[in-house]
Amino acid sequence: MNLFSKLFYKYRRMSKVVRLYLLISGPGIIVMLADNDAGGITTYTATGARFGYGLIWFLVLLGPAAYFVQEMTVRLGAVTKRGHAEAIFDAFGSFWGWFSLLDLVLVNWLTLITEFIGMTAALAIFGIPAWLTVLLVCLVMSFMVLRGRYWAWEKLAFLFCALNVIYIPAAFLVHPSVSDVLKNGMIPHFPGGFSSEMFFFLMANIGTTIAPWMVFFQQSAVVDKGLQEKDIPWGKFDTFMGSMFTVLVAIFCVVVTGTLLSGVNIQSAAEAAILLMHVNASLGTLLAIGLFNAGFLGAICISLASSWAFGEVFGWAHSLNHKVREAPWFYACYFITLLTAGGVVLIPHAPLVLITLFVQVIAVTLLPAALVFLLLLLNDRSIMGEYRNSLFQNIVSGTIILGLIVLSTLYGVSALFPSLFPA
């Protein structure tokens, strides 16, 4: 075989591999990029503005943590062919099942409101009124699900995922010093020492990287996509790629505000975008578009996570491959969640700050339960068979989950009783 034949053979083999990956990829990348939602972008921009590049090393550590948690949902979904809510009902009985389902629906609804807050704030920068933003978002989201195909929804979701990486070119626009980023960002340290404010920021970054809805969403998406046991390695690779992207977006977001707004105390990503408009109009515009897209990406995933969970438990047809008349309750649940969350943002003087606080606290009650159930399910031989956790996976996942439970509890308590943590 001559050199050209060999090269052609290798090219054909590689293109087959890439095509196969593109066929199976989706849930992992979408869930991980949707994780950089409006709340996430707000947290990253505020982190960069407050501590400069100083906490980039912490974001790098969160990538593997998110991967190890989410890859378990791929295996569980592919083996059991059940969503996470149904798997909890089946394995732990109705008490834990109802607890998980109702807590998930509540926290998802509240998170969806925060996505709408982010989207309306982002488009308000361009003079678009909140009611028009809500209307446009609801229309586009309806269009996405009413096509009656999971693939069609996934392709459109990928488009918004691609927009989520807008922070990467934005970071190049600010011309950061690479040596400063590496020197200040990659060496683990706590800029200004460990304080309650630092702790709050660390917790907020953890909270935006690993959220309960992600566990439910990815498992349901794996089932709806029809992944089989043989697809697990690809599903894991998809999750790995997603975790890389989510960390990259977070880092570049921190670089943007860390370069231009270092030392400024900002409350939201929209505020950062407005401040950046004064420095560089195109950069501020990119940041505002990125914030809207982040909220939108979060909204399309979160609203589906609730509908899938309800459908699984109540036995309704619950797939995006069904038309509205074939799965009326699934779509009714989707639209009720969407419209009510959008409606709350339009209520004059709605307690939006209180809602944001509630999201943090209620997510804390669901996260440990969801993660503990996940670990127990992945260790059950009768459910997982040969795909159950190995000792290494148990040590890594167990350590991550234990750490998350302790830290998220402290975060929840600190949100309720800020005076308990000295400055």
């Binding site: 732990f92 109705s94 399910l377």
Partner: protein
């Protein structure tokens, strides 16, 4: 006349609850027996979760009443 109205409301409520809450009872029956193999480790973990959630609910109630 009022008796007839109340009776009709009662019947309608019964039909409604049988139709909708019946599904919940059915789900409770379907998942009455947990499938997971219960060993000491699983039992201890679920007990920890119960206590943890009770603690959190307690903290939430305390915060709520201290705000009143």
């Amino acid at each position: 006349m009022p008796f007839r109205t109340f009776s009709r409301i009662g019947t309608q409520w019964k039909e409604f609850s049988e139709k909708h809450f019946g599904k919940i009872l059915e789900i409770n029956q379907r998942y009455a027996k947990p499938r997971i193999q219960t060993n000491r480790w699983v039992w201890a973990t679920l007990l920890f979760l119960r206590l943890y959630l009770l603690l959190l609910v307690g903290i939430l109630f305390f915060k709520f009443f201290s705000l009143l």
